[in-house]
Symmetry: C2
Subunit: 618 residues, 2 copies
Amino acid sequence: MSSTLGPESDLPQIFELAQQLRVDSVRASTSAGSGHPTSSLSAADLMAVLMTRHLRYDWDTPDNRAADHLIFSKGHASPLLYAMFKAAGVVTDDELMTTYRRFGQRLQGHPTPVLPWVDVATGSLGQGIAYAVGIALAGRDLDKLDYRVWVLCGDSEMTEGSVWEALDKAGRHQLGNFTAIIDVNRLGQSGPTELEWDTDAYARRVEAFGCRALVIDGHDLDAVDKALTTAGDGTAPTVIVARTVKGQGVKEVADKDGWHGKPLPKDMAERAVAELGGLRDLRVRGPQPPAPQPAPAPAAVSVDLPRFTVGDSVATRVAFGKTLAALGARPDVVALDAEVGNSTHAEDFKKAHPERYFQTYIAEQQMVASAVGMAVRGYRPYATTFAAFLTRAHDFIRMAAVSEITMALCGTHTGVEIGADGPSQMGVEDIAMMRAVLGSTVLYPSDATSTAALTATMADLPGISYLRTTRGAYPVLYSHAEAFPVGGSKTLRHSDHDQVTLIGAGITLHECLAAADELATEGITARVIDLYSIKPVDTDTLTLAAQDTGLLVIAEDHHPEGGIGEAVLSALNTANAHATVTHLAINELPGSGETDELLDAGGISRSHIARAARTLLQ
Amino acid sequence: MSSTLGPESDLPQIFELAQQLRVDSVRASTSAGSGHPTSSLSAADLMAVLMTRHLRYDWDTPDNRAADHLIFSKGHASPLLYAMFKAAGVVTDDELMTTYRRFGQRLQGHPTPVLPWVDVATGSLGQGIAYAVGIALAGRDLDKLDYRVWVLCGDSEMTEGSVWEALDKAGRHQLGNFTAIIDVNRLGQSGPTELEWDTDAYARRVEAFGCRALVIDGHDLDAVDKALTTAGDGTAPTVIVARTVKGQGVKEVADKDGWHGKPLPKDMAERAVAELGGLRDLRVRGPQPPAPQPAPAPAAVSVDLPRFTVGDSVATRVAFGKTLAALGARPDVVALDAEVGNSTHAEDFKKAHPERYFQTYIAEQQMVASAVGMAVRGYRPYATTFAAFLTRAHDFIRMAAVSEITMALCGTHTGVEIGADGPSQMGVEDIAMMRAVLGSTVLYPSDATSTAALTATMADLPGISYLRTTRGAYPVLYSHAEAFPVGGSKTLRHSDHDQVTLIGAGITLHECLAAADELATEGITARVIDLYSIKPVDTDTLTLAAQDTGLLVIAEDHHPEGGIGEAVLSALNTANAHATVTHLAINELPGSGETDELLDAGGISRSHIARAARTLLQ
């Protein structure tokens, strides 16, 4: 049986498609020897109706900017998604049956954007719905296009707080272009879900968060169609709460515990395929989106970076804010805040470009997810909060790297430098977190000029880039003519007879400079390196310093693990350069206090740096 | 005016106390030159009634196990908390006025358990309420004591997903001993909050999540008293939604934007104190808890660790599960799961000790928060999920370190080793995250025997300890007689003429052993070190290897930043030991595949290790 379904197809035809999606989900996972067939079976009816009658998608031109988006937040239902791709005719049955979950192939265990029809990697639950909100926000407020965003969620993932951050934003912004479909199949990975089939409980929560809830039987195609039609009316963010049966259509596993994430053994699979009515070869072309529109060409705008006067005291967070506002001249730059914009100075962007400033309130996961969603739509997001609170979004940042997203993050209030607010507000783990993100860039400027230059550079930097700023105001060190290439450094003190090298970034660079002055009065000449680029790091300059002086002092306002010190040791090791290195970092729990007191107690102040240098020279 | 208030005090007297709390909040923050007086003023009435009539607290015996708990989730309202401590007579006015937010002092900018009346550090919003749920759960299900847990929340923090994870659990478990009080003062840090004074919206959300909502005017002392009485009836988890005015009582700042986190200038403070009726010296002794009960003495139970046979294939996650179940013989050991217990094998504990097994469903933040709450009550929690998903709880782990909590975390499914599920499920950043946690211990066993020993060790290890396990089954390497001290290592291949040292842990240790075998056939003798303790790391053994062989190959199933390689480089640097080191780690985005394929593609397989050794020897 081979025929092509479209919006005009009747429900019995769509049921055949649903059965085909089930059959292919079973076959694909059994052939792979792993995967989640039962989680696919429960949602097959939902997806069959969606793709035939509602999803306006141009399968041949997946970059059609006017097309709808579909996200599988329950990424483990990849057999279903890939069966849909087969039904759409963009993946062959052969590819499905011989490459799923295999090495080097694109049909991975959980979907990733290696596939042109996948926007974001999913598989860490509670994330797809959050990205969908970001895309929907971009659609309505930035693209001003009519596309809709559909997201399929599992019921287990509804316990993730990030889901409620997402629905809160969908509700607040009344994103009429956003529809989440919850596949309430009652069974999680290791037993019944928390709310089982209490669809009313889901509906109450959804409505309390400002979204429209539609409770349906997820296997009643007519009900599914009506709900999707209502959802598509664009009047309200909608959550379809669909009661389904895990393993629907296959008696041996339907609604049975113990079948999560397990492929059916071959004999069972054969029986299942027979029960489902055997193989089919239906094709689907659902409603078409408007004709492809090219992404708007980047406007050739000139950005006037703020300029700072050498010697003036300017906080790097202030320089970041001014630069971000200036970068807003580029129409692709957007800024996201987690209700600390007046501290991080991201708020400067709001004043200049309120239409591209997104307040996510105190919801760092959604802030990063919205940034990812906007990046999917081609924007250059800058998401900013205190460095300490970016840890809240660690899993989203990790997954954004799997999605190969380009975005800029900025963490402010780093280190013990912040003073009186105490350890809960001190980012002292952020460099370790951000360095370990695949393909990331980690920048840590010490003055306003370098902050402006690096903030601007991030707008064109592929991957996830991170800027670390400092709370207090410190002297501007560089004139605006200076260049700050990623992977570079600045040698601020240098002579032919340097005895020791002092390496810092951010606040500790200023401490290194002061230590060098102190050492100079004792006749000790110290080289001083501003290591503004932590990843990639300037291996050549570090190697030269090792060769020239043999003695290095590294000071960082961060825990010793995974930070600047280890970045330097790694670089020296790569270059096979040897040096005796003293590494000063925050090793004990700080409290409140003045900056100077805390730097000193933390062992990273000018006096500790000078002392370490003297000790090395003994 | 000096007198002592108690449960019998009338509301006018309690109003005087509230005004005193306001006055002292203003004075303390003005004297410190920083802090959050307006956020304190809004909640003063709530706290005055609570501490006088409802909080059963033994101020002189803060470790009275029968006493109520009070947590300031809005930790920035520390001036109010410390003013309460003064009213309770445990902090002097002099301490409040001269030490708040000062260096080396206990009255820090945000509360930490340095103070004996503070259970957990707060200041990262959305966390206190989650810890409170953990303590309430411990109270009802473990301690079986009658204490109540009160938590004061800000309204801004209600946008954090973690808050809804917490209320979902409070509702699910119907924790009648749990009361959250939301101080809905309408103004956040940088403007109006998302829901402003829409107290009904808060109530709808709270009720949808299964808790009882009581909406009141937070400045109507009678209403506050009645709500607290109702909350204290123990029949349902309760959220008091209290409409308040930020800066209440001080006209110049009341309900005015721009006064978050700002102390009043001296002249304003003086006017404020006058407006509030001047200084008072009221003391409070609220209702007393039952007489102090000592913590139950640790029962002298013998734990029979599981034994494994050398050469058998056993996954370390399996050994972890068996050991955890065995450790359950200790009544203080509890286990927490995020609905993956059948994968992590934490489920073994459930079978043996269901009464101490806590299913938090897919809500990693709450899982860790519940663990922290139980640790506050003296239990030894083991919280387990996939290593990749522990990143979701990074901010909670960071804050647990600030709280100086002792707990064990276990992350399973680490590295590309997991195979077909793909990168979303692969923990390749977890070592970096966990090493950078203050005071943490990071363990990564390679076989079942060492896993059992280390899992058991963690039960008595202070601070936050982390065990990294592996998905697949690999040979048991050690007999049960072997000891695995924290900070140790095992040298598995060793001779007097080792030419190169191979260092691995977990899966890569097995690859190192295979590489050594391969090299042996070529006449190359390689030392092999099982670096099961990543932090602290065995500097002596590493130094000896550097001295003896001069050449090290380190292989890790983790990103290169912040992992085993950098731990080794740091250790060698500390010891001033020199070696030429080749560091093999995961540098590119993996996909799906078989373990062997992915290890090889990632450059960390036996053949890559052997090749690296050969190259070093050239």
